[in-house]
Subunit: 190 residues, 2 copies
């Protein structure tokens, strides 16, 4: 089932049938069990993951030993550590499945080969990463301008299904406040 990725690509560029075939031959869907990691701090990240089904998250372990989620990825998103990937340096991050998930894991060497064969895919990855960067800028804006309570209500009104989908403590850390405080916001005790 690479259809999802092919459709996603074709939202941004047009592919010839032969190119679709080439692509399909390089891609494999693989399953990742809930809580399994595809990247661990200190490793070099050599793979980009396209999420076909499920949910992954990127997180760090802070000085106090607790996890903080920096980013979630769901269906139709790419997730990776671009800095580690591009510069071939050890990553600062963990990437883990939040649910049982299916991803297309694209190795750097495979991707480079595909890009040589189908150069117009550069355009696809260019647009996708520009959008991701734009989203990261908006995320920083929200973190800077809203109070904890506002951040919770904002995500809850924009993405109510998503809020139900992930554990509260992960969402709390993603919104940069404690799980306890989240609990108080939800019960109106703040």
């Amino acid at each position: 089932m690479h259809k999802l990725l092919l459709d996603h690509i074709q939202k941004f560029i047009h592919l010839e049938p032969s190119e679709i075939e080439t692509l399909e031959s390089c891609l494999d869907v693989c399953k990742i069990k809930k809580k399994d990691h595809v990247l661990i701090e200190g490793q070099i990240c050599n793979t980009m993951y396209f999420i076909v089904k499920g949910c992954l998250r990127q997180y760090i372990i802070n000085a106090k030993g607790s996890e903080q989620t920096l980013q979630f990825g769901i269906e139709n998103w790419w997730i990776t550590d671009y800095l580690s990937y591009l510069n071939h340096v050890p990553t600062h991050f963990y990437i883990q499945a939040v649910e049982n998930s299916e991803v297309i894991a694209l190795e750097k060497s495979t991707l480079e080969a595909i890009l040589l064969e189908i150069p117009k895919l550069e355009r696809y990855f260019r647009i996708v990463s520009q959008k991701s960067f734009g989203a990261a800028q908006m995320r920083i804006k929200f973190l800077f301008t809203m109070s904890a309570e506002e951040r919770y209500h904002h995500i809850n009104s924009q993405f109510p299904e998503f809020v139900q989908r992930v554990p509260q403590y992960m969402l709390a850390s993603y919104l940069d406040f404690s799980a306890e405080f989240m609990s108080k916001i939800r019960s109106g005790k703040v």
Copy 2:
């Protein structure tokens, strides 16, 4: 003086002399005076700016009416609002020169034409935006894991010249604390 941009591009891809010529014919350096804006909240962002000389920043005005800097750009960086640029929607941001600066302003229509003529530039922009996204991820990590004091000392040890280069209150908002608190950190009164 497009040499800086051409050099930057050629760090990532190889250009033929003819391509360099094509490119040069499309580019113009323009000057932006300190405090002038190249983007104002509500406008649609149609331009990417490559900074040849000087410093620009992206900021917002928060609910209390004060400015918060989300991003700085210096020599060899691109600055724009990618979401507004790609989706043709009004921007949430201001982009302003912090110093008298020189930039290469690349209009969307010009860029699209250049990309058709020199498709391998897609690769350049792909890599640049992936790096930017990686940097944004690291920025979120620092904001999440370090205290205000740690963030100040970190930037001060990593980029001491830069810390001297911009007003303290702008840097404070970039690091997400108040100008007053920055002053106290610096004088050791915290």
